[in-house]
Symmetry: C2
Subunit: 311 residues, 2 copies
Amino acid sequence: MVNVNNLIKKVRKQPLIKNEKVIIKKKDATKEWFAFLRDEICKDFLALEKEFVKKNSVKPYANKPEPKFEKKRWNRQGGGGGTMSILRGELFEKVGINISTVFGEFSKEFRSQIPGAEKTGKFWASGISLVAHMGNPKIPAAHMNTRFLVTGEGKNKKFWFGGGCDLTPMVIDKKAKNIFHFGLKEMCNKHDKKYYNRFKLWCDDYFFLPHRNETRGVGGIFFDYLNNSNWEKDFLFIKDVGLSFNKIFKEIINERMNLKYTQKDKTLQLEKRGRYVEFNLLYDRGTIFGLKTGGNSEAILMSLPPNVSWI
Amino acid sequence: MVNVNNLIKKVRKQPLIKNEKVIIKKKDATKEWFAFLRDEICKDFLALEKEFVKKNSVKPYANKPEPKFEKKRWNRQGGGGGTMSILRGELFEKVGINISTVFGEFSKEFRSQIPGAEKTGKFWASGISLVAHMGNPKIPAAHMNTRFLVTGEGKNKKFWFGGGCDLTPMVIDKKAKNIFHFGLKEMCNKHDKKYYNRFKLWCDDYFFLPHRNETRGVGGIFFDYLNNSNWEKDFLFIKDVGLSFNKIFKEIINERMNLKYTQKDKTLQLEKRGRYVEFNLLYDRGTIFGLKTGGNSEAILMSLPPNVSWI
């Protein structure tokens, strides 16, 4: 397994920053990137949704409301805010994409856990987070998140990237798993031959429900505290995670959007979504941390599925 | 508000037990009581379900499978076990009643939180827990739990009762709230004139979702560490909580089971149930404690609603 403590130590050991303007540029560049990626994904998902509805809808297309992402701005008490974009459709039963840039001070109880924030608690974070719950149970649910964090003050700032993406099939489905992992491996290998294996294991370890003795899905990649002392290189990787996720997930959707499914598949999907809820509310660090540190609950809980059942 | 620390101190100060057999008798009596109460409630709820189906079902009653509580025994790794009884019907969309008697040792991280368990971690607990999710959104969801706890070893044992019951209306509904609270107040007053106000406030305080700034429902009563140095008196109160809950909730069901409702009411119900899930997985002490100490996850999560939605 990845030794997280070593990564945290490495982040803590980052040298003093010579010129603070460099950090401002990094912040601006990542923030802009997350907004650009959001726009790209929204455009592509919306095109898929329209294509699907045109072809499959019982009602004539002209009589239907045009599918669209509804956008909603939110502010964070304590500093910053973000924008949620939600599409509630037929192919995409519910897909939410949230971008946010938040800053402020961590409360004392959290400071020791966050490298660089030990003394003053100061932090700045920007990121994108996406969860897609599909209408057709033969298309897996998908999750993607990438983020850039800066902690500390003045020249004594620390920064790193985190993120990942993973797939949760609703009915057993090896093909989608293979497409997803093959694509991620190919992408990771372009950046570092060690990444895929390391981040795949980390993902398997993270998305696990001990009380059910079950994995949440079929994994993907997961990473945190990414800082190779080469910010440009790391940022290229972060960009590639977002773009490749979009490309691979669209491939999976295209390949499966017209598959027939039974009532049994649908029932299984609603049950499996229950496990998704259990994971997010019981274990997901981001969710629990966000809710307990005054985050915007609507934006945080946007990831919860539209329809769920516990039999 | 109730000063919980004072109650815990009082539990810790319990005198040494002169004769250990007295505790065995208490354990047997409570365990038997919880099983008896379960049988009573199952019988009454099943009669209501049958009455409803006979009157309202579209299909002829003779062609339907007979409504029944399905029973399932479960064992707890570490010691003890219980029985779940679940009815999945039309009036009762899903009602689960769980009785359990578990024992063993708390792990070191939990011991300091539990009076009497500080040294060896030894505990014994028996209880009944009920959650009813109703088909008709005009009937509130209901929760009831009573339990008896014994901690420590030899003559140095400590014991107390805990429990309560509360109502979660799905659509705004003052009448059910009034019936519920009036009934509970009348019952409490028979035992101690201070109980109702104290336990009502404790309930309001407990069933609150900070991240939504919402209460879970309209409350009821909630109490813990109940030990008035008169075990028989306390046990009578515990019995009365169970029996009165059954009586009052049946009254509410009878009064509302034939009310008409709209699709909008149903949608609201599914959304409101989402809050129920959020509370149970994010805040409920019993759920989190149970899942993290090797409890039976099927029995613990039996409380989750059959159908839920997050829009």
